[in-house]
């Protein structure tokens, strides 16, 4: 256990008062930017980078790690309370979390999100400490054909998100895929569905779509129907997280982590895909599947854990092979390089103490975030006692501010409003908005990887089944498709057999 000793050394240097202060500053800033839609950790770290040149490397990296983890925590708060996801990865938490908040269980939802994030973040960091080199070999064996199989699996399992009506769910999914197609085609450089508008060339930012479809459509909906004075039910329970809630939450945390960390460590895995998968898994395994869509605590616990475990997973390729797989990771890589550190195979041998300090500070940041967030849960939940006209005015301010901050043009605001109206129409027609976001994220990913794979094979589709990983993933896809059908068949047979007296 050589690593353990090195980790202890790391703790020794991370636990100095100075470094602890930087970790605190980092998690606070991170939580704040996580709450605001549109302003992500990437932009924040990029803005802070020039200022931190004066700091010693350890302090700066600790600050950035705090911002990174803090952003993942913060995103869920607005998601649950206001149905306004701060980051696209916390979209799923809004589905069940916001329903819980409306039923007066905001504190429980926030608590399970915070503790789940802590559990997942801690397990993820432990995994980062001990299995990173092994995992990075696995992660780099993923090429375009493997991603195609992974995306197929994601598409098959998201049926859980489609809602009660298959037709309406599929319609929403297609709306999302269409929005995802807007912009320059990655393989040929040709603009698609742009209609000559320059700002659409780069596609529509996922965050803008999420904010528009969730928050704006809701605010518009209140404009049409509500009196504006209605408040959400105040807190109903005394305890933040009851024993029963805890019993239902902890398996979900662990399952979410198990999905989030490996997929997060894949170079093109991202933090959103594991949250979709986690939600589907929780719905399938739940003893109370009828609660899903009405505020099931597992539907918050699992995806939140998956989201944070993925955040730790992203650091695996970054630290082991120097591969930044998200915008934030790219900026952190820049920070590494500006201190003369070169992430990659030699990082641990060349600048070992610093890396272990960073990893130790991830543990510290995680504890700090839990300590910071749990006591605040009740205070955050009290926000809901503000009349809805106040809340939705605030939501509109943050939504427009975030959209403007992301792109810096008025066109973004117009797109935001147009999508908000689209969201309102969907809501009025009873079409769920979540599948649209799933299509928006998965559609372009699947398309890109499929076309890459086919370019590599000069158009030969057999490349999609080459290699052991693809075969395994496609088998799971087939199983996922067949299991419900087979289940139904067996049930029918049993029913057919039942009348005949066996005894």
């Amino acid at each position: 256990m050589d690593q353990f000793g090195l980790l202890l050394d790391g703790f020794a240097s991370a636990l100095t008062p100075g470094h602890l202060l930087w970790a605190l500053v980092g998690v606070t800033i991170g939580t704040a930017v996580g709450v605001l839609p549109g302003i992500g950790p990437a932009l924040t770290v990029a803005l802070l980078l020039p200022i931190t040149f004066r700091l010693d490397p350890a302090s700066a990296l600790i600050l950035f790690a705090g911002i990174y983890y803090g952003g993942m925590y913060g995103g869920s708060t607005t998601s649950i309370l206001l149905n306004t996801p701060g980051e696209s990865a916390s979209m799923i938490s809004a589905l069940e979390g916001n329903k819980m908040a409306r039923a007066g269980r905001a504190a429980a939802a926030l608590a399970t999100a915070a503790i789940g994030s802590f559990v997942a973040g801690t397990i993820g960091t432990v995994a980062l400490t001990f299995v990173a080199p092994v995992l990075s070999d696995f992660a780099t064996s993923f090429g375009p054909p493997e991603y195609v199989a992974l995306m197929a699996l994601a598409f098959v399992t998201v049926s859980a998100l489609l809602g009660p009506s298959l037709l309406k769910g599929a319609a929403s999914l297609l709306v999302g895929i269409t929005i995802g197609l807007v912009g320059i085609d990655s393989q040929t450089g040709q603009p698609r569905l742009v209609f000559g508008i320059d700002s659409l060339l780069d596609g529509i930012d996922v965050v803008i779509v999420v904010v528009a479809l969730f928050a704006l459509s809701e605010a518009f909906g209140h404009l049409l129907t509500g009196t504006g004075h209605s408040t959400v039910q105040p807190l109903r329970e005394r305890a933040i997280l009851s024993r029963k809630d805890f019993r239902r939450s902890w398996p979900s945390w662990l399952r979410g982590t198990a999905l989030g960390f490996p997929i997060g460590s894949l170079p093109a895995g991202g933090a959103e895909v594991p949250t979709f998968l986690s939600y589907s898994v929780e719905k399938k395994l739940s003893k109370q599947p009828e609660e899903f869509g009405k505020g099931a605590i597992e539907g918050v616990a699992g995806p939140e854990a998956a989201n944070n475990a993925a955040a730790a997973g992203v650091l695996v390729p970054l630290l082991t092979i120097g591969l930044p797989t998200s915008a934030t990771a790219a900026v952190i890589l820049t920070a590494f390089q500006s201190y003369g550190l070169q992430p990659g195979p030699q990082l641990f041998s060349e600048s070992g103490p610093l890396v272990w300090t960073l990893i130790a500070s991830l543990y510290v940041g995680n504890v700090m975030l839990l300590v910071l967030n749990l006591p605040l849960v009740r205070m955050w939940a009290k926000l809901l006692t503000i009349p809805s006209y106040g809340i939705y005015a605030g939501v509109l301010v943050f939504a427009t501010l975030g959209a403007y901050a992301a792109g810096g043009t008025t066109v973004d605001l117009l797109i935001l409003c147009a999508l908000g109206v689209l969201g309102l129409l969907m809501r009025e027609a009873g079409i769920p908005v979540a599948p649209a976001i799933v299509g928006l994220i998965l559609g372009p990913l699947a398309e890109q990887q499929l076309r890459r794979a086919l370019t590599l094979s000069e158009g030969d589709p057999s490349i999609l089944l080459s290699g052991p990983i693809t075969v395994v993933l496609w088998s799971v896809v087939v199983l996922a498709l067949l299991t419900p059908a087979a289940g139904a068949w067996f049930r029918n047979r049993r029913r057919a057999d039942a009348p005949s007296p066996v005894r």
Binding site: P144, G183, P317, L323, P324, T325, A393, T455, E458
Partner: protein, 348 residues
């Protein structure tokens, strides 16, 4: 907030809550206003010079037409650091997307404003052509070229290709079977891929080029063993070459590079191909000749600061300072060359 208690008590609580919540919007408004006022930049001006006259006491704003972390963003932020001792505070902001053409389309609106600068380069020249953008660098005033980064052609460590000759042989035998992983469509890597195909006597339109949104993503496809070769900026891929995860066959520079002295140039391998990913700065069109001269002078002064020299060293960028009419001629010739190559690839 609990449900116990008489109705009268509940009413009381509700009223108290009402009174409390009534102040929330006001408090938020006051705090928000305070925050905006407190963070408004105060125009501090340093040493008076002709640049100072040109700026008229205003802060210089640099647009990085790419997301944080990319090459243009890094260039802009290093400029911000180096300019501090010359003109005090400058502002860097990002307008990401579409190879810089979204930033460019916004930048052309600053007609005649000498306080606005745009970081630009070869990738923008290519993207303008590939995306059919309505604006080009001809709608700006190119000021100086600052840095250059050459491209490296790399293969996975266990690839059978040993050198440029092997690559040439493989490409001559069956061009589409040599898949090439690189950055965005129409970007510098695809331009080089097209030039390579042409140099071996093939049709650039036949190249199996797999586009990625960035060098990191392209590297993952290469490391998965699915692509035959990868093309990447030398400064970006150098650590991987050093670590032995990939092997470099050649670099696209005229001479060997000090960062990777063991890697031969394409010319040494018998291919008449040379490509540099240059980066520079442009001002809006319509600024006066004096303003142009003053800004060029400022940027040339900046390239002499110690901060800038340090940045070049740290980032592994080549110094490619070129200003005035020579730079404008250079931009024009690059536009012609790039659009010819992209036409041949079929992206024009």
């Amino acid at each position: 907030m609990e449900q116990r208690g008489s109705p009268a008590e509940q009413v009381g609580t509700e009223q108290r809550t009402r009174r409390w919540t009534r102040w929330v919007p006001w408090t938020v408004a006051v705090v928000a206003t305070g925050a905006v006022v407190a963070t408004t930049p105060t125009g501090e001006s340093h040493a008076g010079s002709t640049v100072q006259d040109v700026l008229g006491g205003e802060q210089l704003r640099i647009m990085a037409p790419a997301a944080p972390g990319g090459g243009w963003d890094q260039t802009s932020r290093e400029m911000q650091g180096a300019l501090r001792e010359l003109v005090g505070r400058t502002e860097v902001y990002n307008v990401a997307g579409a190879g810089g053409t979204i930033g460019l389309s916004q930048f052309v609106r600053f007609d005649g404003d000498p306080t606005q600068l745009l970081t630009t380069g070869l990738i923008m020249v290519g993207a303008v052509k590939a995306n059919g953008s309505g604006h080009s660098l001809a709608d700006t005033t190119p000021l100086v070229r600052l840095t250059t980064d050459y491209q490296a052609i790399v293969v996975p460590a266990d690839s059978p290709l040993r050198d440029t000759a092997d690559l040439v042989a493989a490409m001559r035998e069956d061009l589409p079977s040599v898949s090439i992983a690189g950055g965005s469509a129409g970007g510098v890597e695809q331009i080089l891929a097209g030039m390579l195909a042409k140099a071996v006597g093939g049709d650039p339109a036949q190249v199996s080029y797999v586009a990625h949104s960035g060098g990191g993503e392209a590297l993952t496809t290469l490391l998965s063993g699915r692509a035959t070769i990868g093309i990447s900026g030398v400064s970006e891929i150098e650590p991987q070459i050093e670590a032995g995860t990939v092997r470099a066959l050649a670099v696209s520079s005229p001479e060997r590079l000090p960062a990777v002295p063991d890697v031969p140039t394409l010319r040494e391998g018998g291919l008449d191909v040379e490509l540099q990913n240059w980066r520079g700065v442009a001002a809006p069109k319509g600024i006066s000749a004096e303003e142009e001269r003053a800004l060029e002078g400022l940027l040339l002064d900046m390239t002499r600061t110690r901060e800038w020299r340090d940045a070049l060293e740290r980032r592994g960028w080549g110094d490619a300072t070129l200003a005035g009419p020579e730079f404008e001629d250079f931009v024009r010739s690059e536009q012609e060359r790039v659009s010819r190559v992209l036409d041949e690839i079929g992206l024009g």
